[in-house]
Structure formats: structure tokens, C-alpha cells
Amino acid sequence: MSEVIKVENLSKAYQLGQFSTGTIAQDLNRWWALTRGKEDPFLMIGESNDRSIKGTSDIVWSLKDINFSINQGDTVGIIGKNGAGKSTLLKLLSQVSGPTTGSIKVKGRIASLLEVGTGFHPELTGRENIFLNGAILGMRKKEILRKFEEIVDFSGVERYIDTPVKRYSSGMYVRLAFAVAAHLESEILIVDEVLAVGDAEFQKKCLGKMNDISSSDGRTILFVSHNLAAIENLCKSSILLENGQIVKTGLTKSVIDQYLFNKKSLNAGIGLSHRTDRKGNGKVQFKKIEFTDAKGSLINQLRSGEDYNLILTLEMLENINLNDLIVAIGIDNNKATRITLLSNEITNQLAVNKIKDNLITVNISIKNLPLNSGFYQFTLFAKDSFAILDWIEDATSIMIEQGDFFKTGKLIPSEQGDILVNHSYIN
């Protein structure tokens, strides 16, 4: 198989703070301040932009020394945490932004789908927008004409094709937009998290279409998503990015395993002290999540059907009445849908187990963990009778491994849902 993409020593640097602050006046101002040996007056903003650690230099390498090559017909997933450089890599590959060093070599036409419906004009009809959007994505007019019927068919908005798209429902809009993109005839397709939009049925249709594209047409696809199930489903091989560098490349399964392993070592508990995206008055703050097994020893992975203790550590910064304290945990699935809530408001119990040196420990026992294997996001919430004290959305994501919930050695397939119900057939 021949190489169609070859990336060599690719790096991209962004300058923090003192970059493009806007006006000549500010530039002059800065220059004046610097020549007098004072601090840059505009450097404050964005300086500690780094996710967790404050950097010392004001240059951030969003990507550093990336090397890989992709063969024709491969579908390759790109995996990584937020800020790992996934989007930057896609931007460079799709020529939206230029690299700082290194090179990308491409054979064949490359089309990127960083967003669906780029350039849709609300006043124009569906028909006109198909042509406009297709042309923006790099199609020739006669190509679009040839595929027009197919596009309309796929989108399912035939009845409204001569109506301005501003009258469309958001679902119709997205369907039409994806339909155009799905019929691109480029040899290489780059797809960002676009499948996060639309309903489940449509998402399935999109994934199916992408599967068709790669398997039957022999085209190359690069796919970025947080939906690991989708990546695993679609991509044979994957690239794992971390802090702008490639950590692992190879078969998707092994890359995902590595990613999950990197992401959580539950062993030490998950620290929350660095989180700044909190709401609430802050009288109490979440510090740590830990899991122990029924015997009380720390564990490093969760499995369906086992018993666990979930231990939250909170710091009390101002006095509150602990008898009023409500601590709740919301659990979302990997499609960001809330599936359940744990709360002592429901169980009519006191939240607090013990308090020492202003550290509150909340201990929640979970029996026979009824969640299917997969990724779950945990949202933490604390309030007293007056106000919200602390609230961290998506405080952490936790992988639940396959376990023997039904005591039969079998588990329902993950696409059949997230919740496991203890049931039996009576005969």
C-alpha cells in the first residue's frame, strides 16, 4: 500500500499573551513599557492558560516533533485529552493554519470536515446551499450536479429543498450539511468531532456512511472523537497524542487501552484541587475522589457487578452546618446524557462520615455496580440549606471494565445501553 500522508517533524507553537492584542496603540504601549524595563502590560491575560501547570515560557508547543505516515485506505483515529493537540493537528492537516516547523506531504485531494455546514447562508435555499457548501469543501460544480440526487436523498429533506435553510429545524440543517460532506470525492477525508451533533439515528447513519467510504471506496479517513466507541468501531489503527506529542501509534484497541491506562490510575485517587471550573460559593470544596473495594483497600479499576465504596474528600473553608450538607454525584454516559444520580437527599441520610482538620470525608457504598462497561463522566455537587457550595461538572471520567454482573460470565453488548438491571426469568 502506498503512503498518502507523510508527516515529518511537525511542530506548532503558539505564543501566549503578547500576541495580537489588537491595536497599534497597545503595541506601542507594550514597546514603551518594555523599553523602560517594566512588565508587559498586556501579558496578564492567558498567561496561566495551561491546563494544570503554569509554564515559565510564553511559548506553548501545541504540537512537537510529530512523525507519522498513513497508507491509502486506512481509517485512523486520533485520541487524546482536551489540549493534547488533536485539533491543532487537524488544523494543520487541513491547511487552515500553517505549521511552525516540519512538513506534511499529501497525495491526492484532501477534504476536511472540522464542522458541518461551513458557509451555509441562512437566506439561501437548501439547493443553493448544497452547491455553495460543496464548492467550499472543494467540489466542482459538475461533481455536485452529478451527486445532487444522492445528497438530497441522504439528507432526507427533499420536501424543503427550495426553502431557505433559516426555516429548517436544526436537525434538518445538520442532516443536509453532513449529506454534502459525506459525498465529497476526495481521496482523504479528515473528520473532527462533527458526529456529536444530531440524534442517535442520524449519528448511526453517519458512522455507517463513513464505514462505507473507507471500506468500499478505499479512501483514507482521519477521525477525531471523544467517543471511543465510535473510534474503535471505525478505525483500524489510532494515534494517541499527549501534550502535543505522539505517545503511541498502532492498533486502535491497544492505543485505547494505553489512553485509558494513562488517563486513570485510580490507585492514588483522583485529585480535584487544581480544578478552577467550579460553581457555588466555595465554602466547601471537593478535593479528591477515591474508590475502594468492599474490604476498604484502594483499587485501580472498576468492574460491572462488584461492590465499591466511593470516597469523596472535601475541604471546609468556612463553617457550615454539616447536618444540612447534601453531596450528590451525577453520572453521565459517554454521549453526555445523565443516566443517574447518587444523593443523600434521596436516601435521607447525613452525608458526613467524619471530619478532621477541616477535611470532610463522604463515603458512599455502591452494591453490585449496575453500569455496563464503558466511559462515564462524574459530576460532583454539594449544597447546604442556603446555597450551592461547590459544583464541578465532569469532574472526572471513569472507565468501567467488563465484570460479571449477571453471574453468568456474560454481559450485554455496550451498544445495548448503559444500565444493567438485575433480572431473572421465572419458569
Binding site: 515529518e8 488544523k91 516547523t101 464542522e115
Partner: protein, 290 residues
Amino acid sequence: MIENSNTKNQEPSDWDLVIEPKNSLFKLNLKQVWRYRDLLLLFVRRDFVSFYKQTILGPIWFLIQPLFTMGMYLFVFGELAGISTDGLPQPLFYLIGIAAWSYFSDCVTKTSTVFKENSSIFGKVYFPRLIMPLSIVVSNLVRFGIQLLLIAVAMLYFYLTGAHFNVTLYILLIPILVVLMALLGLGLGMIVSALTTKYRDLALLINFGIQLLMYGTTVIYPLSSLTGNMKTIISLNPMTTIIEGMRLGLVGKGSFQWTDLLYTLIVSVSIALVGTLIFNKVEKNFVDTI
């Protein structure tokens, strides 16, 4: 499969696209622009259609604007100030100036905000950025064409009512003058657009700068009414030659010399060239700075 390509040394194969940090300043990729010509036309169509969608008068709006401007000029400059129009019917004199000037100023102001206005598209998908300013120039050309029709109607009317003017052979120069005007507007707009990605101030400056520049062009007065230094300075403005040339062709009055045309040609082409080069340099990384 993905491989680490670090060590492998492939034979120099025929890559279709090589993305590197710095393109040579003079690599304009005009071939690519040509490949995207359908997109250019679709942008023009979009501008045109979305302009009058949901209006009652529709495309007639393209005529209302110059007619009202002309009415105002008739009142202020014709009646109150009594500025000479070279013996031509005042409406005709103003209409030609307005059509040419509004073409030029629309090109400059719209091109100058091209990065800002389209940052959402530019940030998401790549196509030769040059398409955008080119589409602006072409869609304004459509408007200009409609205004030329209006001028033709006005000429017919004044011809029938017996006013004094005559069409000259210089009318054949009009296509060239239009191209020069387009190059000038495009080039100037692109220079400003490239600079506004860093300095927003310029966008504000250009807006009223263009308004003021109109008075430095022979839109509301003929060049023949000026003498001495004044005349030389106003002649240095390439738009003066263009407007005077158009008047000479259409209604037979205008100060126009071939040396002026040569000068305008050189200025327009240089500005367009400089604009294209700067634009080309900025387009690559503007997403990070805007």
C-alpha cells in the same frame, strides 16, 4: 497501518501537496485559484441573491442607491454650491462619477474586512483565500454593470430632450478602465485586510478615509475646473484618470491623456501585486492571530 516515518527515506515521490512553514513569497498558487473558480461564481451568486431576498423591490435596490445619491449631489453641489459640470447635464455627470466611485470604494471597504468577516469559514475549511476578495470584486462588477445600464437610460433620455453631449471612441477604453479600477480596489483592500488582522484600527481608518478620498477625486467636479498645483495633485489619484476617461468616452467631456493612463496602469498593477503578495503571506497564519 501507521508507521513512524522518522527513519524511512522514501524515494522522491510525486506528492500532490506539501505543507511547509514558509512558502516563498511569490508562490501564489494561481492554478489552485483557477480550480476553485466555481466557488467564486457561487460566492458572487450568494452575495447577489442574499442582497435582495425578502425585500419588496428586489434588485431595483441596486438602482435606488445611485439615484438617491445623485439627487443629493444635484441639490448640494449642483444647486447650492453651483460647481461646474463641464457643461454636461448634471445628473449624467454625477451618475458616472457615482457609479465608478462606489465600485471602487465598495471593493476597498469590503475587501479590507475579508478576514474578519469570514474568520468562521476560514477557520474551518481551506480554499484559496484569494477567492474571497476576487468574489467581492466580481459581485461589485455586477452592480456596476446595472448602474451602467442606468447611465445608458439617462443618456438616452438626455439625448431625446436635446442636451449637448456626444459619445466618443474613448468608450472602447471603458473595459480597460474597469479592470484598472478593479485592480486598484482589490489591491488596496487586500493590503488593508492583511494589516487589519493585527491592527483593527486600520479598518476604521479606511472607512472614513475612503469617504474623504472621494473629494480628492473628480466625482463631483471636473478636472478641467482645477488649475496649477491642485490639478497636479488630484491627477496623481489614479481614480481621477479612470473617472475622467469614462466621462470622455460616454459623454465626450473629460481631461484624459495617454500618459495619465500609463501612470494609472502602473500604479494599479503595482498596488494589486503588492496586495496579492501581502495577502498571500498573511492568509496562512491569520487564524492564529485574528
